[in-house]
């Protein structure tokens, strides 16, 4: 039997492969952090970011008030969290259900806030298109 069996060196991996694996592990950690979500839905609510390392879970009403979350990228998470700072201050040590509901509604409004410029833009475009068409028709069809 072999005598040199105590600690034979393993064939090392190339540095590139080690880096690739480390990245894969970090990505796996990030996916676990985001929870069991269908990979098709792993995307920021506002932009095209799909990398789980950049995605985070945003608590719509704030951690204190509700568990509901949405997936957003770090940038948008920072923006939403900034808006959350303007929500009403805590009233009770243990939040009242109405308080939870109020914060949830505030949170939902926050979600829509980054979209407000888009809504305004669409509204302008539509009215402008209607205005441009005004010579060709009598208005409502």
């Amino acid at each position: 039997m072999s005598t040199n069996d105590e600690n034979p060196a393993k064939t090392p991996r190339s540095d590139e492969k080690e880096i690739e694996l480390r990245r894969a592990r970090r990505e796996q950690g990030a996916r676990e952090r985001l929870g069991p979500i269908n990979p098709k839905h792993l995307k920021c609510l506002y932009c095209d970011v799909t990398d789980p390392l950049i995605l985070e879970k945003h608590h719509i009403a704030g951690r204190r008030y509700d568990n509901a979350t949405v997936i957003v990228c770090r940038n948008h998470h920072r923006l939403l969290s900034n808006l959350q700072r303007d929500h009403a201050a805590p009233i009770y040590e243990k939040p009242h259900p109405f308080e939870n509901m109020g914060h949830s509604l505030d949170g939902i409004a926050d979600l829509l806030e980054p979209l407000v410029p888009k809504f305004r833009e669409f509204a302008k475009r539509l009215t402008k298109a209607a205005d441009d068409n005004s010579g060709n028709s009598d208005g409502a069809t």
Partner: protein, 1085 residues
């Protein structure tokens, strides 16, 4: 003789038997284990395979792995147990690794760097063929897995966890790494193809500070294990080896052959091992393609355990919500009644051990057909069950119903009814311990009066068809679907829009069978390029029809509780009985006992109808099995008449064909038709049957020169034995099979055995079968054994006690088990002394030697290295039972559920008249059935809920009655318990009576009562004979001949004095001895 002719209006004697009925014991848990969210695996895949020594320990020598990112090979390597090889062999391995660009490492490095480093940390899919064996080779320790960790983990409510924990309890928990931060791997073997595998939650801090502050734990990482063997069984019904699977899936590479297992390493062996991993990967890819073709939204390949999993996935795809979820308030008492009516398919032999000419027929897709005829799809997609009392209606319809009514499909729609009957020698499926060995079997027998029980209406109709009398219905409940679920979705089978099923418009079962018929029709004329796709579709549809029409509705997963818990058991009485259980039955997702019992009831009715039609045509049947019946030709009938009559019977069922393609629903099997050059002709050829017992039969033709051509045979009772010889070693004295063995359904040695059994019957000596047809039958008979459960591994408790872990026989090791022939031990005096010494040293623990040997396909050579698994002492091969010993009574196996079914009996079996002396409530009968032949005990696997309160009262009354006859002392001795315990039972202080004790008490009481009845009958006959003798020869003469006082005799004659034992002996001697030969003198002779 037919069943109806068997019936006797005044049964002479009932068999008093312990009867068993299924019961329902709610676990109280919610819909656990259902729709649990799971992280989908990453794009990484780890495929590995291990090679081991071939001794009993099966120690890991080396293994080969591949890591793939997507389809691309990321790296490959070889991990080696360096201690196992010489320097020269290591040089070969190093050269191999270098030339193949493989990483070379120690086993521990593989575990740390690859198995955990990639498999666990990157959530790779870990793929193997028979993964439990390979994973257990990597282990450095193991324990029995528990249900929950010691400290109950509070898991984040936002992160639902796969609840595999309970399901894995009672399996093995393997330690692969010495590091505490590495999780263990839990494996629980469920069947030969299925094992649940997962990583446990690792110890130590695994959450960040924020989560710890909120007392949350991260999502456990159960891993993503895919056993190709399991996935293949689920998706393609292939249960064979990797070689046969690769052939079936037509992979680019095929498994290589080698004889080098355990021998010195050479390049060929390393290439063989490398190819194994490549073939496993290719099989996995092919199976994944098949899986993806199903287009499931939520199902993942690691959750496909069987065909039933595919069926469930389709139900989920259609968004069908489970009945238990929609109707959680449904009374448990009714569920218990439903379960009590449930019995499986009917399998019995009628012509036992005689040769009959038959036409073998089976029903087209029996269970799907039953579902369609009864409209059970509406129950599957309904919001729940509505029920109504239908006693009067059921009585009337049962009284009026005739065979012709059952020819109308409308009649079947009204069979969703359960009825409570007061039996009066009606024919019902009776699950009882007919053989007295504690093993229940189901026999369709006459049920005597006394016990009110529930059955399906279909069973009552079947009884009426058999006896001509309608069973007396006390109560009936008819069930109807309560509305239809919203939001159901259409589904494309195998992702093909051509095979779309709309759950609202289509009857699922009917549509699937129609689609399959259409595919099969197209397949006949298809171009070769289309054949593969059509074959695949045909197979998928077949699997789907079978997977969704039965098993899921009666899915109960047994969990070992580890301790006794008090539960309520609901059964035939409709009332709860408090029971103490150590096993729990967790209903599966689509558990629906009503549908399950109606399906099997309808299948039994189909067979009863066939039996009735057979009798009406003046024919008989040789055997039947679930969906098939061998119709037998009576003596003196010519073939043409026989075939015409069978054709009439088959044609009778055409009206019941619910499918688009009209045609026979009762089909004549291929075995009935003549063969030419291996091809089936349309011409019927006389087919003969030799049946021994239920599921043990063979069908054959006879050539002009008397040669036997076996067409079908069963391997029932032979499957556990290793083949004594391979196909190419078959005896030349037995003609080779004309029909391919795969079509016959057995291996070559099974075929040879059946040939000899049939030959003996044809030659007029069916009891003496010539088993000298192959020299290997004189070798020890070996059974395959794998230590797949802790109970089976316990075989090696003593053997392993003082060995290092790496030298122990461990979980999932394959070995061979043998049996000792006690009489042969005396031929080996040295060995006899040795075991006598061992047995004396610890008589309670150690009985006969328990021989075991390392696994080898050549059982004979393996037996030479046989040893006692408890003492480790070698056992001479000469003391082992040979194949001839084991197979010696194969052809005599009794069919105890019927009369005339004992070992030597042959001819027509006769239904028993049964009266239940006690009704036992039981759980799943097939629990751990694969273990049972090896454990030689059913106790560990049985789920016994004991007897109901009423039955317990009856039992106590029986004990009191018997006690009056023989007294407490004798009764307690007969049972084997103390008089104090017996006294407690009689006074009702020991309630509930533990099931094991109840069984002992019942057996003893029945034996004593039966003995007492025999004694009483004998005394009655003696006194009657005594009266006659006094009338003939006078009192004085008779007293003088008996040499007793006439006044004493006078008192006995006028019943003033009981017949003493001495007097009985004297009368016995008088009638038997002194007056032998006189007609009147031997009334009881």
């Amino acid at each position: 003789m037919t069943a109806s002719q068997n019936w006797s209006p005044e049964p002479i004697e009932y068999d008093l038997l312990r009867m068993s009925l299924r019961a329902y014991t709610p676990t109280g848990s919610k819909l656990s284990g259902w729709n649990q969210a799971q992280l989908s695996p990453s794009e990484w895949t780890l495929i590995f395979d291990t090679e081991t020594t071939v001794d009993a320990v099966q120690k890991l020598r080396f293994g080969i792995y591949q890591v793939r990112k997507g389809q691309e090979l990321f790296e490959a390597g070889i991990f080696v147990n360096f201690k196992m090889f010489s320097e020269w062999e290591l040089t070969i391995i190093r050269t191999f690794a270098r030339s193949n660009d493989y990483r070379l490492m120690r086993v521990a490095d593989f575990v740390e760097d690859v198995f955990f480093g990639i498999g666990y940390e990157c959530l790779a899919t870990i793929v193997g063929f028979n993964l439990p064996f390979d994973i257990s080779r990597l282990a450095i320790g193991h324990a029995i897995s528990r249900a929950t960790p010691k400290k109950k983990a509070q898991v984040s409510p936002k992160l639902p966890t796969p609840n595999l924990s309970k399901a894995l309890k009672g399996g093995f928990s393997f330690k692969l790494s010495p590091h505490k931060y590495r999780p263990r791997v839990q494996i629980r073997h469920l069947s030969s193809t299925v094992a649940l595998i997962r990583f446990t939650t690792r110890a130590g801090k695994s959450a960040g500070r924020g989560m710890r502050r909120r007392k949350l734990k991260p999502l456990p990482r159960p891993g993503y294990f895919v056993d190709v063997h399991t996935l293949a069984a689920g998706l393609t019904s292939q249960h064979g080896s990797l070689a046969s699977l690769a052939k079936f899936l037509d992979t680019d590479h095929r498994k290589l052959e080698t004889e080098s297992h355990g021998g010195p390493i050479d390049d060929n062996y390393l290439v063989y091992a490398r190819q194994d991993v490549q073939v496993t990967w290719e099989c996995y890819c092919k199976l994944l393609e098949k899986f993806v073709a199903h287009n499931f939204t939520n199902a993942l390949p690691n959750r496909i355990f069987s065909e039933a999993s595919v069926g469930k996935a389709y139900f989920e795809e259609m968004n069908i919500r489970p009945w238990r979820l929609l109707q959680p308030q449904f009374p448990d008492s009714l569920t218990g009644i439903m379960m009590s009516t449930y019995s499986g398919g009917r399998a019995e032999v009628h012509h036992r051990r005689i040769i009959s000419q038959v036409v073998y027929c089976d029903f087209l897709s029996m269970y799907p057909s039953a579902c369609t005829l009864m409209g059970l799809w509406q129950f599957v997609i309904s919001n729940g069950l509505k029920r109504r009392d239908s006693t009067k209606e059921a009585r009337k319809s049962l009284a009026d119903i005739s065979l012709q009514d059952l020819q109308r499909p409308d009649t079947w729609k009204q069979l969703a009814t359960l009825v409570q009957v007061s039996p009066d020698n009606d024919v019902f499926p009776i699950r009882a311990d007919y053989s007295g060995n504690g093993q229940d079997t189901i026999g369709r027998n006459y049920l005597g009066p006394g016990q009110v029980l529930w059955f399906t209406l279909a069973d009552c109709i079947a009884s009426k068809l058999s006896t001509g009398r309608a069973p007396k219905i006390l109560e009936a409940i008819t069930f109807t679907p309560d509305g239809i679920q919203n939001d159901l979705r259409s589904v494309d089978i195998a992702g093909n829009p051509e095979y779309r099923i709309d759950p609202y418009k289509n009857d699922f079962y009917c549509r699937v069978i129609d689609q399959r018929s259409e595919v099969k029709r197209r397949l006949k004329n298809a171009a070769i390029s289309h054949r593969v796709a059509l074959e695949g579709a045909q197979l998928t549809l077949k699997i789907l029809a079978n997977a969704t029409s039965y098993g899921n509705f009666v899915e109960l997963n047994v969990e070992d509780l580890g301790r006794r818990e008090n539960r309520n058991c609901f059964g035939y009485l409709g009332m709860p009985t408090a029971v103490s259980v150590n096993k729990s039955e967790e209903p599966g997702k689509y558990f629906h006992p009503l549908i399950a019992t109606l399906i099997t009831g309808a299948a039994r009715l189909m067979l009863a109808m066939t039996e009735r039609l057979i009798a009406d045509q003046g024919l008989d049947y040789a055997f039947c099995d679930t969906d098939s019946m061998a119709i037998a030709k009576p003596d003196g009938m010519d073939d043409a008449t026989f075939f015409a009559k069978v054709s009439n019977i088959r044609g009778w069922f055409d009206a019941l064909n619910p499918y688009a393609v009209k045609g026979p629903i009762l089909k004549a099997e291929d075995a009935n038709f003549a063969l030419r050059d291996g091809k089936r002709l349309d011409q019927i050829e006389p087919l003969y049957c030799f049946a021994i017992s239920a599921k043990r039969h063979a069908l054959f033709n006879l050539t002009g020169d008397g040669q036997i051509v076996i067409r079908k045979a069963s391997a029932h009772g032979l499957g556990h034995l290793l083949p004594p010889y391979r196909e190419h070693e078959a005896p030349v004295s037995i003609p080779a099979p004309v029909v391919p063995l795969a079509e016959i359904g057995v291996e070559r040695w099974h075929y040879d055995l059946w040939h000899q059994i049939i030959r003996a019957a044809l030659d007029g000596h069916p009891d003496q079968v010539d088993l000298d047809f192959h020299p290997n039958l004189n070798k020890p008979a070996a059974s395959r054994y794998a230590a797949t459960t802790p109970a089976l591994l316990d075989w090696f408790k003593v053997h392993n006690a003082d060995l290092a872990y790496s030298d122990q026989v461990g979980p999932f090791n394959f070995l061979l088990a043998f049996q000792v022939e006690p009489t042969a031990i005396y031929e080996f005096p040295d060995y006899e002394d040795s075991i006598a010494e061992t047995m004396l040293s610890n008589p309670k623990e150690i009985g006969w030697p328990k021989p075991i040997a390392r696994f080898s396909r050549d059982a004979g050579s393996a037996a030479d290295n046989c040893f006692d698994r408890e003492t480790g002492k070698p056992i001479p091969a000469g003391v082992l039972k040979t194949y001839k010993d084991v197979l010696g009574s194969y052809h005599l196996r009794p069919e105890q559920k019927f009369l005339n079914g004992n070992f030597q009996d042959k001819g027509i079996t006769v239904r028993r008249h049964v009266k239940p002396i006690e009704i036992r409530q039981i759980g799943k009968e097939s629990n751990r059935w694969q273990e049972r032949p090896l454990l030689n005990s059913n106790k560990a696997a049985e789920i016994d809920y004991g007897v109901s309160n009423e039955s317990q009262t009856e039992l106590i009354n029986l004990v009191r009655e018997v006690c009056e006859i023989v007294g407490q002392r004798e009764l307690s001795k007969e049972i084997g318990i103390s008089r104090q315990t017996l006294s407690k039972i009689m006074q009702g202080q020991l309630r509930p009576i533990p099931p094991e004790l109840a069984a002992l008490v019942t057996k003893a009481a029945v034996t004593i009562r039966s003995r007492a009845n025999t004694e009483n009958a004998k005394i009655a006959i003696l006194i009657s004979a005594l009266d006659t003798e006094i009338q003939i020869i006078g009192l004085s003469e008779f007293a003088s001949r008996l040499k007793i006082d006439p006044s004493n005799l006078q008192k006995i004659a006028v019943r003033k004095r009981p017949l003493s034992h001495e007097m009985q002996v004297a009368l016995d001697a008088y009638f038997e001895g002194n007056y032998k030969g006189r007609a009147r003198a031997a009334p009881f002779g």
